[in-house]
């Protein structure tokens, strides 16, 4: 079998997975897309291993690793998704933006902003000097 078939198939699978990761909203579907991408890579690995006639079969060995890690990853990922869903009532990846930058300057969320506002920090400094 010519190498181009599995390679094209893997590329298509990867493109589908990529589209799913970038465009789907449901976190579970995103995870499934990630699986697709991983399996596309697996396919590539096996095909190239065969085509190169590698005596050590490193491509196949690596595929086994990837399968194992993919299993672990999907387990973890689904657990996270489950927890997110329980906490927020949604698995919509667009709404899970807790790690977004708050849009305020550094240190602005801890209350005492040392360099945020010149009007409030001058009295603070003076007080610190008076008590020192």
């Amino acid at each position: 079998m010519h190498l181009v078939y599995p390679a094209v198939l893997a590329s298509l699978l990867f493109a589908v997975g990529l589209y799913g990761v970038l465009a789907r909203r449901n976190a579970i579907l995103v995870l499934m897309s990630v699986e697709l991408m991983l399996n596309a890579v697996n396919l590539d690995l096996v095909a190239f291993d065969r085509w190169l006639s590698d005596s050590l079969h490193s491509g196949q060995a690596l595929t086994l690793f990837t399968i194992t890690i993919a299993a672990a990853e999907i387990g973890l990922g689904l657990a996270i998704v489950l927890l997110v869903y329980r906490n927020r009532g949604t698995a919509d990846i667009d709404r899970v933006t807790g790690l977004a930058d708050p849009g305020r300057p550094l240190g602005g969320d801890s209350g005492g902003a040392p360099d945020s506002d010149p009007a409030t920090d001058t009295p603070d400094d003076e007080k610190a000097e008076a008590t020192a």
């Binding site: 899970v96 933006t97 360099d115 010149p118």
Partner: protein, 664 residues
């Protein structure tokens, strides 16, 4: 280490331990505070007396422990007890004990009494260390500990503005003198290759000092600061904002005496330079006369005593200027006792009358009947101060005048006769002034007329008892010891001679009589102009210290001035005439210092503040601003949407791949 040395080491150690335990246990075990305050001082007194008795007028006891091998000049933890140290330590321990006993009553309800008592003990330990040590570096440690204790104690009523200002002033002015003093100590050690006082005096006697004048003048700066000599005396009158027992301990008997004591120990350094002696004599003469005039114009009873302390220290400095340390030590001893007595009785008077203002006291009848103990002991103290025979002040002051006369006649080695004349004339004039202000103080305080003084019941026994304890040496010390004391010191006869005794006592009596006359002359004015204010809550059961603090705080409000009061019924005002206003303010020396030193320093501090706040800080803020803006721009990308990130990642990967493909 001999037994004497071991005992002597215990003398400063006990109050130090008392202070340490007092500070540690003060909050947790209030029951121990009073014993911990009084007992170490009392034990020290007993031990100091024992050391003096064992030491006797014999050889110096030396014991040393090498503290640090510094590589060049070693520092020894050295005890060196000679006659001088032994007797001064007894005085210090005696006054400290009296003050501690007195304070138990005086500050009975004070919430800060534990720390106060501990600091007084620490101060006593430092002073005893200064007295006993034989090493200038160790002496310096005691010297500086006293400085900081003085700062804490003067600022005891830190709620009042006057006390805060006074404590900072006392600390800064004495420090101003301490810096040259430190340099002087190093200069001496460099020449003598030792910090030991014995080695330094031997070197100085042998002419081994390279620059005796410079050394002596550097030391004099520190002495002037500590012993409140012109021009660094201005802290002492203001330091009266501290509690009365503190004034009695620090500003009468101990800390101010440390400077004199140091000069006495290092006298060969000073006699090696005629110029230094001349400066010392001029300093003492200006101090004596100026403080005498200022004392005549003060309104606060304690400030009168403060200025008289400055004047009496001037006497001691004068005695040292004419090369006679025996007379200086003699006067230091008798002055320490009677001035502590005066301060402590002034504390009783302030409590009884509810004011510290002499003007207010002079409008008050029957104060003498209210506090007879204070009146009698104060009379004794003032008579001793005015050198009325046969009180102790008479003998000690005559010994100073005798030494000055001796030097004036050119009979003292190393001492120019002009120095002798300066001290002699200034001493005589000061005797006149001393008689005057002592009489004025007594008349204004106890011979006032007007509404009855408030009845405070009997003063507590610890306060009045201590007064009588101190009154005994104030009466008898001079007469009993002037023959025997020289054996302990340099064996210079200290007895009064006829000429100086008659002249000095005569001038003093003239001062007394003139003020008496002036007192009669202004009695009409005093009756017509009612003046003065008394502290409001001056009940019998109010703590004495509280009355004093309030009196100090209200003085400025009532009289418009912390020091003086414009009272037509004051004999001092009649006698001083146009000088009165100036003398009341210490000849405006404070104002001059304010213009010359304080204002430039404040201006410089303002400039530094401006440079720091507005110039340096602007740069720092600017440096932080650029990354901040950049961060704000980058921050926009952090939306929290994982898919956006991944899209960016993909775009980046594609760009890289294209670049690699195009490049290869």
């Amino acid at each position: 280490m001999t037994l004497t040395a071991s005992l002597a080491a215990l003398v400063p150690a006990l109050p130090f331990l008392g202070a340490a335990f007092g500070l540690l246990l003060g909050r947790r075990a209030p029951g121990f505070v009073r014993p911990l305050a009084v007992l170490p001082a009392l034990t020290s007194l007993v031990l100091a007396a024992l050391v003096a008795a064992r030491q006797g007028p014999g050889q110096t006891t030396d014991a040393a422990h090498r503290l640090t091998p510094t590589g060049s000049v070693p520092i020894d933890l050295a005890l060196s007890i000679d006659g001088f140290g032994a007797v001064i330590a007894v005085l210090v321990a005696l006054v400290a004990t009296c003050v501690q006993i007195y304070s138990v009553s005086y500050l009975r309800d004070d919430p800060r009494y534990p720390s106060y008592a501990a600091v007084v003990n620490l101060f006593t330990a430092a002073m005893l260390l200064v007295v006993y040590t034989g090493d200038l570096m160790v002496l310096l440690v005691g010297w500086e500990v006293m400085g900081i204790c003085s700062y804490f104690l003067v600022g005891h009523y830190w709620e009042t503005e006057a006390a805060r200002a006074a404590s900072v002033k006392a600390f800064l002015v004495t420090k101003l003198g301490d810096v040259p003093f430190l340099i002087g100590v190093f200069a001496l050690a460099a020449d003598a290759h030792s910090f030991r006082i014995g080695d330094i005096t031997t070197t100085a006697t042998g002419g081994g000092l390279h620059h005796p004048t410079v050394d002596a003048l550097l030391l004099l700066a520190g002495v002037a600061g500590k012993s409140a000599q012109f021009p660094l005396h201005t802290w002492l009158p203001d330091a009266m904002a501290g509690p009365t027992p503190v004034s009695a301990l620090i500003h009468a008997a101990t800390m101010v005496a440390a400077g004199i004591y140091l000069v006495a120990r290092l006298l060969p350094v000073f006699t090696a330079s005629a110029a230094a002696l001349a400066v010392l004599a001029a300093m003492s003469a200006v101090t004596m006369i100026g403080s005498g005039l200022a004392a005549l114009a003060q309104d606060d009873i304690k400030r009168v005593l403060a200025y008289s302390t400055i004047g009496q220290l001037g006497y001691m400095a004068g005695a040292l200027a004419v090369g006679n340390r025996d007379a200086a030590m003699f006067h230091l001893l008798s002055h320490g006792v009677f001035k502590a007595l005066l301060f402590l009785s002034a504390g009783v008077v302030i409590h009884a009358s509810g004011t510290n203002s002499l003007t207010a006291m002079s409008r008050m009848g029957g104060l003498a009947r209210r506090v007879p103990d204070a009146m009698w002991t104060m009379a004794i103290g003032l008579a001793a101060l005015a050198a009325i025979p046969p009180l102790s002040g008479f003998f000690s002051k005559e010994s100073v005048l005798r030494a000055a006369e001796h030097a004036a006649a050119g009979d003292t080695l190393h001492v120019p006769s002009a120095v002798g004349w300066t001290v002699l004339v200034a001493g005589m004039l000061t005797a006149l002034l001393t008689g005057g202000y002592a009489t004025r103080l007594f008349l204004l305080a106890f011979r006032g007329s007007g509404p009855e003084a408030p009845d405070h019941g009997r003063q507590p026994l610890p306060m009045t008892g201590v007064l009588w304890v101190l009154a005994v040496p104030a009466v008898a010390f001079g007469g009993l010891t002037y023959r025997r004391l020289p054996d302990w010191l340099d064996k210079v006869p200290l007895g009064p001679t006829l000429t100086t005794a008659v002249l000095g006592t005569g001038l003093s009596l003239v001062g007394v009589l003139v003020v008496l006359g002036a007192w009669r002359a202004v009695s009409e004015a005093r009756r017509q102009v009612p003046m003065g204010a008394v502290v409001e809550n001056a009940d019998a059961d109010v703590e004495p210290a509280l009355v004093e603090a309030e009196a100090i705080a209200t003085h400025t409000r009532v009289y418009g001035d912390i020091a003086a009061a414009d009272d037509p019924g004051d004999p001092g005002r009649l006698l001083l005439g146009p000088l009165h206003a100036a003398a009341g303010h210490g000849f405006r020396l404070d104002a001059a210092y304010h213009t010359l030193f304080v204002r430039p320093v404040l201006a410089a501090a303002g400039l530094v503040r401006f440079l720091d706040r507005d110039v340096v800080e602007t740069w720092v803020k600017g440096a932080a601003g650029a990354p901040n803006l950049l961060g704000a721009a980058v921050r926009k990308a952090q939306t929290g949407n994982v898919q956006t990130y991944l899209s960016a990642l993909l775009a980046g990967a594609v760009v890289l791949a294209v670049l690699v493909a195009v490049g290869s």
